[in-house]
Amino acid sequence: MTIDPDSILIKNIKEKFGQSILDTVVFRNEATHLVKKDSLIEICNFLKDDPALQFNFLSDIAGADYFPKKPRFEVVYHLYSIPKKHRLRLKVTIGEDETVPSVTSIWKGADWAERETYDMFGIAFEGHPNLKRIYMPEEWEGFPLRKDYPLKGYKDRYNPLGEEK
C-alpha cells in the first residue's frame, strides 16, 4: 500500500485539523505529521476513535535532540492500527523548558515510553502519573541522550575516564 496525498492517513487528518498540522512528510512510504503541541491530545483522541483510522496501538514514543537548533527537542509518536494495519508518525517540537501533554490517558502503554523519554532527554510530560527516571539512578545528574552530554559521561569517582564538567 503506497501512501499518496489522498490517503486517509493524510486527507482525513488534514481536513479535520488543518490548522494544527504544521507539516506533512511522506518518506519511504511512511507518513509523518508535525503537529501543534496544544492539539496533540485532541488529535490522538481522534486518531484512536475514528472508525476509519482506529489507531489503537501506540508502538513507541521517542525523543530526539536537535541541539543547537531551536526549539531543540522533538517527541515522536509511532502509532499502529491493529484492525486497519496502517502506521502513522506524529511529531511535536518543544523547547528546553517546555512540557508536552502526556498521552497516558489515551494509551496506557505510553507510561514507560514517556518515562524513558524523560530519563534520556529531560522532557517533562504533563499529566503523567509517575514521571520518574526509569533506566538511570534517581539521583543521576544530566540527561544522557542529549547531544551536549558527553559520550564518556562526566568525571566522578566511579568514572575516572569521563569528561570534566
Partner: protein, 395 residues
C-alpha cells in the same frame, strides 16, 4: 497465647531481585504484599542499561550490527534483522531473493531458540527441571546450526546491510532440514510433560490474566497479545522479506492467561519449523549480498587475494557509507513481539538518532496489572510467561 487472639497481617514490601534465579536476569520487583497476596508489583529496571542508543549515534552504520546482538541475546538473529532492515529502508535498497530466504530461515531458527529457552526456564521456575534439560538439548542443536552458518553461537553478527555475511552451505541445509523435521516430535515430548500436567495447569491456568483490550492498550505485542486472543502478527499483517509466500498459521489463545501464552509459544515453534523447512526447500540461487560496492563489503576470499578489494574493504570499514537524510521506522515480529528500529539520518555515515522499540521493555509494563491480587508464587509464572530479556529491556 489464647486462640481468640486476632492475627493481624501487616503489609510489607518485598524486594525480589535483581539477583534472583527466577527473574530472568536483573529484574528488580518491588512487591507490596499482605500475607501472600500481591497488592502492587512495581518493576524497577535499568540494572543492565548500557546506553546502546547513545553508542549507536557515535558508530558507523555497519559497526552497530554487533551491538544489536547484545540486545535480545537469546535471539540475536532477529535483532540483526530488525536493524539492517531499518537501514536498508533508509537507503531504499532491496536485498537479493536468496538473502531474503536466508534471513527468514535464520530469524525463524532464532525464534525456536528463544522460545525453547523461555519454555525451559519457565518450567524450571515452576519446578519441572526435566523440560529445561530437554529444551536445552534442542537449543544446543540450533546453536550448532548457527555455528555452521556464521561461526558464532550466541552473538551472531550474521546479517549485514545489503544481505548476509556468508552464504548457506549445502551441509547446513541438510542439517537444518534434519533438525526442523525432528523438532515437532520433540515439542510433542515437552507437551506430554507439561500440557496435561496437573501442577503445570494449576500454576498457569487463570494466572496472570489480561484481556485483549487491556493488552492492546498497554502496548503488548507478540505471544502476550496473541495469548489474549488478538490475531496480530507482523509477519502476516505487514509481510516483510518473503513471509507472504509461506504457508503458516498464527496461533492465538482465548483467556489471556499464562497457560495460553505457553500454548501460543509451543505452536509458534512448530510453525517456525514449518517456515524454515519451506524457506530452505524453496531457496533460490543467487548471491547472499546485493551488488552495491559502496555499501556491501567484498567477500573474504577476494580481500585475501586481490589488492583492490583489500583497499576497498579498508575504505568501507574505516569510512562507512552515507545514508540519505530522512527517517524511517521498521518493525519485525521478533520472538518477544514487535521489535522496531527508528533511525533518523542527517545524511552522514552515523545515525543521528536511533531508537529501539524493545518488546521486552514494553511487555514488562503488564506485570502490575497481571499480578495484582494474585499470590506471590504467581509472580514467578507471570514473569516467566512475559519472557523478558534484559539486554533488550534495559538497552
Amino acid at each position: 497465647m489464647t486462640n481468640t487472639e486476632e492475627v493481624i497481617t501487616k503489609e510489607i514490601t518485598l524486594n525480589m531481585g535483581p539477583q534472583h534465579p527466577s527473574t530472568h536476569g536483573v529484574l528488580h520487583l518491588l512487591l507490596d504484599i499482605k500475607g501472600e497476596n500481591i497488592i502492587k508489583a512495581y518493576p524497577d529496571i535499568g540494572y543492565l542499561h548500557r546506553g546502546t542508543e547513545k553508542i549507536a549515534e557515535n558508530l558507523l552504520y555497519h559497526q552497530f550490527v554487533p551491538y544489536t546482538d547484545r540486545l535480545d541475546y537469546m535471539s540475536a538473529m532477529s535483532n540483526n534483522l530488525a536493524y539492517v532492515q531499518a537501514v536498508e529502508k533508509l537507503l531504499g535498497i532491496e536485498v537479493t531473493e536468496r538473502a531474503k530466504y536466508i534471513r527468514v530461515a535464520a530469524a525463524e531458527l532464532s525464534r525456536i531458540a528463544s522460545h525453547l529457552l523461555c519454555i525451559g526456564a519457565w518450567a524450571l521456575d515452576l519446578g519441572a527441571m526435566t523440560v529445561l534439560l530437554y529444551a536445552f538439548r534442542e537449543r544446543e542443536m540450533v546453536l550448532d546450526l548457527f555455528e555452521m552458518l556464521c561461526g558464532a553461537r550466541m552473538t551472531l553478527n550474521y546479517l549485514r546491510v545489503g544481505g548476509a555475511r556468508y552464504d548457506i552451505q549445502p551441509a547446513f541445509k541438510e542439517k537444518c532440514l534434519e533438525f526442523v523435521n525432528m523438532l515437532p516430535a520433540r515439542i510433542n515430548d515437552y507437551e506430554q510433560l507439561l500440557t496435561e500436567n496437573r501442577i503445570w495447569l494449576k500454576r498457569n491456568k487463570a494466572v496472570g490474566v489480561i484481556s485483549a483490550e487491556d493488552a492492546i492498550n498497554l502496548g503488548m505485542s507478540g505471544p502476550i497479545v496473541r495469548g489474549a486472543g488478538v490475531k496480530w502478527d507482523i509477519r502476516k499483517d505487514e509481510p516483510y522479506l518473503v513471509y507472504d509466500r509461506f504457508d503458516f498459521d498464527i496461533p492465538v489463545g482465548e483467556n489471556g492467561d499464562c497457560f495460553d501464552r505457553y500454548t501460543v509459544r509451543m505452536e509458534e515453534m512448530r510453525q517456525a519449523a514449518k517456515i524454515v523447512r519451506q524457506a530452505l526447500e524453496q531457496l533460490p540461487d543467487g548471491k547472499p549480498c546485493i551488488d552495491m560496492p559502496d555499501v556491501v563489503l567484498p567477500p573474504r576470499r577476494d580481500i585475501e587475494t586481490n589488492m583492490e578489494e583489500l583497499i576497498h574493504h579498508f575504505k568501507l570499514i574505516s569510512h562507512g557509507f552515507k545514508v540519505p537524510k530522512g527517517e524511517a521506522y521498521s518493525a519485525i515480529e521478533s520472538p518477544k513481539g514487535e521489535l522496531g528500529f527508528y533511525i533518523v539520518s542527517d545524511g552522514s555515515e552515523r545515525p543521528f538518532r536511533l531508537k529501539i522499540r524493545a518488546p521486552s521493555f514494553v511487555n514488562l509494563q503488564a506485570i502490575n496489572p497481571m499480578c495484582k491480587g494474585a499470590y506471590l508464587a504467581d509472580v514467578i509464572a507471570v514473569v516467566s510467561s512475559l519472557d523478558p530479556v534484559f539486554g533488550e529491556a534495559d538497552k
